[in-house]
C-alpha cells in the first residue's frame, strides 16, 4: 500500500488473518434518537487491534453492544467467527467484554470474579484454579485473590476486569473505553501492557474509545465514527496523514483547514494567495486543504519561490516539548508547532511575539479534502 511506504509505523502492524467479525448494513434506532446506527458495514480480521473512535453519541458503544448481544439491530447482519449471530443470546457468543466501569461483582472476591465464566461452563475446580492463576499472572495481580473489588485501586480493578474476560479465551475481546476512568500516567502504562498482551496472545481486540491519541497509539486499524456511520476507516497513519473529511482531520489531532478553489491542474487560490498542491484537481473545484501544525515550516527568510506566506506571530503557547505558534496571515489564523529543541538553525529557530516571519506550506503536506 502506498501509505505504508510513505508513513513508516513505529510499531509492526498486524494486518490480521481471516475475517472474524463482519457487520453488514447494521441499523439501530432508539426512541431518544441518540447513539443510533445508520447502516454500518465493517470487517475485522482475526488477530487485529481494531478501534472504534468517535465523540460521545456517535454510536460506537451501541455497535459494541450489538456485537456483544446486549442490543438487537433493527436491520442488518452480524457475523462472528463465520456464524450468523441473529437470535444468539449474549451468553452463547464466542466473545467477552471489558466494561467501561469494569462491572466486577462486588460480593465476589478477585478469584471468584475471574473464575465466574469458567464456573458457568462448569469446568472442574482444578482447571478453574490453574486457568485463573494463568490469567492473574498474565495481568500481574497475583496475590490479590482474596480481595473484594472495593478494596482495589482503579488500575487493579481494570486488571481484574481484563483477566475475567481473558480467562475464557474468547475469539474476540470487546473493550468499552476500559482506560477512561484512570489517570494519565496509569493510562499510558496500561496502553502499552494491553498492546503487548494483544500481540502475545494473538487475540482480536475491538476497542471503543473517544481518545484519539489512545486509538493512534494502540490500533492496527481505526474506524472513525460520526452520527451513527463510519466516517473513515484505515491504518492510524492513513487517518492522520490523509483524512478524507474535515471531521476526521479535526477529530484526530489538530488541523489547519484552508478553504480553496482550483485554478490550475495543481494550483489553488486561497485567502492568502496561490498555493501549489501535489494532487490533480479540476479547474473551479472548491475544496478544503488540511495541513497539520507540525508540518508547517517557519523561517525568517524566504528560501523558495512558491507556497510561501508572510505571517505575524500572534501568540506563543509553551507546552514543554514544543512551541505552538498562533499565526496571523491577513486575518486568517494558522497554527504551527515547532520542537523546543534549542537549535537555532533555519527551520528550528524560535520566534518572538509580533515578529514577521515566512510560513512555508509544503505542497506534499497539503491534504485535499473534497467537501
Amino acid at each position: 500500500m502506498e501509505q505504508r511506504r510513505l508513513f513508516k509505523g513505529k510499531r509492526t502492524r498486524t494486518p490480521g488473518g481471516d475475517i472474524i467479525v463482519r457487520l453488514e448494513g447494521v441499523r439501530k434506532r432508539f426512541d431518544n434518537d441518540t447513539s443510533a446506527l445508520n447502516g454500518v458495514n465493517l470487517e475485522v480480521r482475526s488477530g487485529e487491534f481494531f478501534s472504534l473512535l468517535g465523540p460521545s453519541g456517535c454510536g460506537k458503544t451501541t455497535l459494541l453492544r450489538i456485537l456483544a448481544g446486549f442490543e438487537k439491530p433493527d436491520a442488518g447482519r452480524v457475523e462472528i467467527a463465520g456464524l450468523d449471530m441473529n437470535g444468539v443470546p449474549p451468553y452463547r457468543r464466542p466473545l467477552n467484554m471489558v466494561f467501561q466501569n469494569y462491572a466486577l461483582f462486588p460480593h465476589l472476591n478477585v478469584f471468584d470474579n475471574i473464575a465466574f465464566g469458567l464456573r458457568m461452563k462448569r469446568l472442574p475446580d482444578i482447571e478453574v484454579r490453574s486457568r485463573v492463576d494463568w490469567a492473574m499472572e498474565l495481568v500481574d495481580i497475583l496475590g490479590l485473590e482474596k480481595r473484594k473489588p472495593q478494596e482495589l485501586s482503579g488500575g487493579q480493578r481494570q486488571r481484574v476486569a481484563l483477566a475475567r474476560a481473558l480467562v475464557n479465551e474468547p475469539e474476540v475481546l470487546l473493550l468499552d473505553e476500559p482506560l477512561g476512568a484512570l489517570d494519565y500516567k496509569l493510562r499510558k502504562q496500561l496502553q502499552v501492557e494491553l498492546m503487548n498482551l494483544q500481540e502475545d496472545l494473538g487475540l482480536t481486540f475491538i476497542y471503543v474509545t473517544h481518545d484519539q491519541e489512545e486509538a493512534l497509539v494502540m490500533s492496527d486499524r481505526i474506524a472513525v465514527m460520526r452520527d451513527g456511520s463510519i466516517e473513515q476507516l484505515g491504518l492510524p497513519e492513513e487517518l492522520y496523514e490523509r483524512p478524507s473529511s474535515r471531521f476526521v482531520a479535526q477529530f484526530l489531532g489538530t488541523s489547519n483547514l484552508i478553504p480553496a478553489q482550483a485554478v490550475g491542474e495543481k494550483e489553488v487560490d486561497t485567502a492568502f494567495g496561490r498555493l501549489r498542491i501535489s494532487k490533480k484537481l479540476k479547474k473551479g473545484d472548491r475544496v478544503t486543504l488540511s495541513i497539520r501544525p507540525e508540518k508547517v515550516r517557519l523561517s525568517r527568510t524566504a528560501s523558495l519561490q512558491y507556497n510561501l506566506v508572510d505571517a505575524r506571530v500572534d501568540d506563543i503557547i509553551y507546552t514543554g516539548a514544543e512551541n505552538q505558534y498562533l499565526l496571523d496571515i491577513n486575518g486568517f489564523e494558522l497554527v504551527a508547532y515547532t520542537l523546543n529543541s534549542d537549535i537555532q538553525e533555519p527551520g528550528f529557530e524560535e520566534f518572538d511575539y509580533d515578529e514577521k516571519i515566512v510560513v512555508h506550506l509544503p505542497e506534499e503536506n497539503l491534504v485535499v479534502i473534497h467537501e
Binding site: F70, P89, Y91, A103, L104, F105, P106, H107, F116, M120
Partner: protein, 289 residues
Amino acid sequence: MNKLSRLKGILPTIGPGALWLVIFTLVPTLLIFYTSFLQRDPHGWLSGPFTLENYRRFFGISESGIDALYLKILGRSILLGVVATMVSVVIGYPFAFFVARSQHKNLLLLLVVLPFWTNFLIRVYAWIVIFQRKGVLNAILHSLGFEPVFLYPSWTAVYIGTIYTYLPFLILPLYASVEKIDWTLLEAAYDLGAGKLRGFWHAIFPQTLPGLVAGIMLVFIPAVGTFVISDLLGAGKTILVGNVIQQQFGSSRDWAFGSAAAFVLMAAVMAGLWIYARRAGEIGMEELV
C-alpha cells in the same frame, strides 16, 4: 489516636442515640428481665423472693410431666411469623422489581405507603367487615353465585391480616435495594456465559440481599409478637404468645409471668434470627450492619 480522644470524637455522633437506647430500651429490658424472676402477690403486685417459677410455668414442667400449653402457643406464633414472612417475600420480591422498573414508581410507592395514613386498628377492623358472615366478601361471592365462606373469626383471617399489615415493611427496604441495582452486572454475567436464571442468581440477587434481610426482619419480628390482629380477627379464639403476654400485663395482673413469657419470646426470636443470619450468609448482614 488514644482511646479517650477517640471517644471524644465519636461521642457527638453516637452519643444521643446511645443515650436514647440505654434509657428507653436497655433499662426497660433489664427491668423486665428482673421482673421475670419475681412473683405476683395476692393483690396483683410484685414481690420477692427470686424464683424460677414463672419460667417453669411457661415451659409447663411439673412432677407429673410436661404440659406444653404455652410452648404450643409459642410454636403457633413462630409458625405465623415464618409463614407471614415467606408469603410476604413471595408477593413483595417481584413487586419491588415491578415498582422499581415501572414508569409510575412514585404512584406505586404512594399506594404502598397509603394504608399507613389510616389507623392500624381501623385497618384491621376493615378486614372484619370484609370477612364477617354477611360481609363484603360473602356479598360478592353471593352475587357471583358461590357458597358463602366463614372466615371471621378464623386462623385464615389472622394470617391474611398479618400478611396485609406487614407486607409494606418488606417492600420498602427491598425496593431501596432494587432501585440501586447495577444492571451492567447482569450484562457482565450474561457475557461470561450465565443464562437468565444464573444471571439473576449471581448478579442481581446478591444486590437485593441487604434489603431482603432488612425486610424479613421487619416482618418476622412484629408478626411473631402480634396480639391485636389475632385478638380482633380471631375474636379471642386464636391465642398467640403476644396475647398471653398482653393478658398477663392486663387482666390477669401477673407481670412476673408476663415478663417471663416476653423473655422466652425474645430469646426465640433472637435464636431464629441468628440461625437465619448464618444461613443467609455473611454478605447481607455485613452490608446491613
